[in-house]
């Protein structure tokens, strides 16, 4: 009966005014994986059926097949861990023995990113907890259960501390957010140590709070550390969208659901508190939200291993404008700025506009990876096919500097001579309307209810994009973009918006360094020279005092290990030093 209910839920138009309750949404995801229509029935199906207490004989048989030849790393470990904890007496002795043996005979690679390590150590922690008092000869590590548990505990705690003091290294990834949520969901559900359980539950609040103010109808907006090429342009198609739907019933989930929300739902299935739901859905007033994150580990060419990332995100019902400060903050998949506009149904819609200097270099890769120089680019391109393409739309550039004030953004470029791709690409979506190239040099367009003024600082040509849309191509090393966005409700039409923009003082020079002086639509004078600290209203931006979180909904100071979540009169304070959560209402 429950299965039927879930299927009915899925078949309902998801745009229906009232989404199903949280538990039914979680159940719908689990049902999808328990009964896949096509494709391989792997660990996800086993785990889902164990959760549902269905077909344990099949689960045992299939598990033994899969464990005959384990392959994979931490992305193998975490499904295994779910199966272990969802067994609850259902698996055959033989299957359970194979599970145990896998931790002895197979050495998964720990990986080289923060999410890899969190998955690895969370899985090892829970495995060591499940099989205590085993000697080193019972584990692939050669260490005892106690040693494995302690090593994993220390690293997980160090990650929590680092995240709540300096921010995440793989910040705000609409894809990889899932593999931070899964470990915390696991620990919240299955850790026996009350402190670890509580810490993980608090981190779920923390991670969901990190997403809530930066979403538009479930779409994770903004500058992001890692995003894939297709999902960069079609933002709806990200994992984040499924989490938005699961947590808050907003947006439209992918079909089928991504598997990351599945593992989240199989473990704690933590339902966010009401205050986070309000933050995620309240777009009644425009706001600016600030975050400080950090770069991934920079092994070479830098004195500081994790540099700061300064994010600004302006959000209103109709659109969001977001940016980091520019530069190579992440390898390969960084996305530094854009305007994303809201649409009633984002499926298949490319509701985004941005520009970048496409940058590809061995130095970038060697900064963040331990690759030797010669096979590095080739190795990356095998899985990230656009990395070395001049046409690409993702990746940071050392030649890009950005400033943002509310919905005004200036990006400047000064590309070094000899750079592999000395040009600017801008993405103009197939879903933009009323695109007009004005004699003034501005390009005007409308995306949903967002009016966009986009001013390239150098001449350009248009190039087609496979799949629709156009690429603005500007082959000048000293270059830039000024972008001003407004809501359709603020102007009678695009012409009125155009007139308002043309009335704004704009002064541009490109030598010796690209420089822009612009009076924004919101009244701010923005002065920005490439490589210098930008000024807004005559005051230099104070990067030194940039908060870990700042804005109407979240407050956290760097190094605080605390987060204050706010909405209206509601307050929730997370204190990781004392592992306390305090809820309050205040006027």
């Amino acid at each position: 009966m429950k299965r039927l209910t879930a299927l009915l839920l899925l078949s309902l138009p998801l745009a229906a005014a009232e989404p199903p309750p949280f538990k039914d949404r979680a159940r719908a995801i689990i049902d999808t994986y328990a009964h896949p229509k096509t494709g391989d029935s792997g660990y996800a199906t086993i785990a889902s059926r164990l959760w549902l207490r269905e077909d344990s004989a099949w689960c045992s048989r299939r598990l033994e097949e899969l464990l005959a030849a384990p392959s994979g790393d931490m992305f193998w470990m975490f499904p295994m861990t779910a199966v272990m904890y969802l067994d609850r007496g259902q698996l055959s002795d033989s299957a359970r023995l194979k599970l145990r043996q896998a931790w002895k005979t197979y050495m998964p690679y720990r990986g080289d990113t923060e999410n890899h390590w969190l998955l690895y150590y969370t899985s090892l922690y829970l495995a060591a907890q499940m099989w205590p008092d085993r000697g080193g000869d019972e584990w692939y590590t050669g260490k005892s259960s106690e040693e494995n548990l302690e090593e994993a505990r220390q690293w997980i705690e160090s990650w929590v501390r680092l995240t709540t003091t300096r921010g995440q290294g793989e910040y705000d990834s609409p894809h990889y957010m899932g593999v931070y949520l899964i470990p915390m969901s696991y620990l919240a559900a299955w850790a026996k140590d009350p402190a670890m359980k509580k810490r993980a539950t608090m981190m779920l609040d923390y991670l969901i709070a990190d997403y809530a103010p930066e979403n538009l109808d479930g779409i994770f907006v903004g500058a992001q550390s890692r995003v894939y090429d297709k999902q960069l342009l079609e933002k709806w198609a990200n994992v984040a969208t499924d989490f938005g739907w699961l947590w808050f019933g907003i947006g439209r989930p992918n079909t089928p659901f991504n598997s990351y929300p599945l593992y989240y739902a199989l473990a704690s299935a933590y339902e966010p508190p009401e205050i986070l739901r309000r933050i995620a859905t309240d777009r009644s007033q425009p706001y600016t939200h600030y975050e400080r994150k950090r770069t991934r580990n920079r092994w070479r060419f830098n004195d500081e291993r994790n540099g700061p990332v300064y994010k600004t995100t302006y959000v209103r019902r109709e659109y969001a404008v977001s940016s980091d400060q520019g530069g190579v903050l992440q390898p390969i998949q960084q996305h530094s700025w854009d305007v994303t506009w809201s649409v009633p149904d984002a499926r298949g819609v490319q509701n985004i506009l941005f520009a970048l200097n496409p940058h590809s270099s061995v130095r970038e890769l060697q900064t963040y990876f331990v690759f030797g120089p010669d096979a590095a680019v080739e190795g990356v391109v095998r899985s990230k096919k656009m990395y070395d393409s001049p046409d690409k739309f993702s990746g940071g550039s050392p030649y890009e500097k950005i400033v943002q004030d509310r919905d005004t953004l200036i990006a400047l470029y000064d590309v070094e001579k000899g750079a592999r791709f000395p040009h600017i690409n801008a993405f103009f979506s197939k879903d933009l309307n009323e695109v007009r190239e004005d004699a003034s040099g501005w390009i005007f367009a409308r995306g949903g209810e967002a009016l966009i003024a986009f001013r390239p600082l150098q001449p350009y040509v248009w190039k087609p994009i496979e799949g629709g849309g156009r690429r603005l191509f500007s082959p000048y090393r000293k270059n830039g973009v000024v972008m001003q966005v407004a809501a359709t409700s603020e102007f009678a039409d695009l012409d009125a918006f155009r007139r308002a923009i043309l009335a704004l003082p704009l002064k541009v020079s490109l030598e010796p360094k690209p420089t822009v002086r612009f009076q924004s639509l919101r009244g701010s004078l923005i002065e920005f020279t490439y490589g210098e600290t930008p000024k807004v209203g005559g005051i230099a931006i104070d990067y030194a005092n940039w908060p870990l979180f700042g804005g109407p909904f979240l407050e956290a100071a760097v190094d605080s290990e605390q987060l204050l979540i706010k909405h209206g009169i509601m307050r929730r304070k997370l204190d990781f030093r004392n592992l306390t959560v305090k809820d309050a209402t205040s006027n």
Binding site: S71, M107, R110, G142, F301, D374
Partner: protein, 329 residues
Amino acid sequence: MRFFLWLAAATLPLAGQHTLYTCTAMTREYVVGAKLLPSGIFSHVETGKWKHEGYNHPFVFGLDYDPKDPSTIYIAAGNGLIRASEHGQHWKILTGSDVTELRDVALDPNAPGAIYFAHCAGIRYSPDSGATWREIGGSLHRKFTEAIRVDRRRAGVLLAGNEEGIFRTEDGGAHWKLAGASGFQIMHMEQSPHDPCHWLAVTEQGGVFASRDCGVSFESSGGAIGVGHNLYDIAFDPSKTGRIAVAGWGIGVAVSSDGGKSWQLRNVGLPRPDAWSVAFDPDHPGRLYASIQEEALYISDDAGANWKIAGLAGSQIPRMKFIPAAKPK
């Protein structure tokens, strides 16, 4: 742990003989997310036959053995420093979450139990066979360290190659001095088996650097070999003084017969001039091995004049080492 038993005693090399071990990643046609191909430590059983030792691990970059007990090897791996003891019956990761992606490992023959490894954020030292560790690269400006070697003449004398050159310490890492190749990323270093005061180092873009004063100072050597290219490995021929080989990208294999003063490319018969590592066989004079990018391991019985495939098709082998047979206990 029969699962991990290496060769039975009957197939072990005789005392005085050596076995070639390779740090191998099978990467041809591999993409992230695909099924992992067998990778890790391979030992050469006989011509063309290899044995995958112990666990699958896609990231192993260096190895060394315990000079007092060659049946114990130490592996610089992505997951940490791994000890494989008693002919591989027991494996243990000796390090924790504080280090990752190790680059090189060296044991001190004059200090039993002393292990050093280079990692992507420094250099670690253990005085007690890996029971405890401490960082000894803290005083170096840049931390990424690709190479670590121990001077076999005296305990505690080390050479480290990082992204800023070659550094030398005489006190186990308490103090380091720049020894040469300033500004170049060092890829590997070796001490001559014939003259302990002769050292060679290979670099990214800077070619070969040599020391004739026991590693105190290094100077550019060998003319243009490797300049503008990346050299990944260097090997002295233990059976012939003055014969040295280097491996590099765009260089392939180059061999010197005069101690590194001049070099000849030895790529005839190799499928491409992109080599990761080289090693001379101490038991067969003139026998040279070379790892060619994602092609195979190649063998030459005439110091590189002619080559044939020795196995491990599709591999990258960043390092290989001949390890002497363990004495029966």
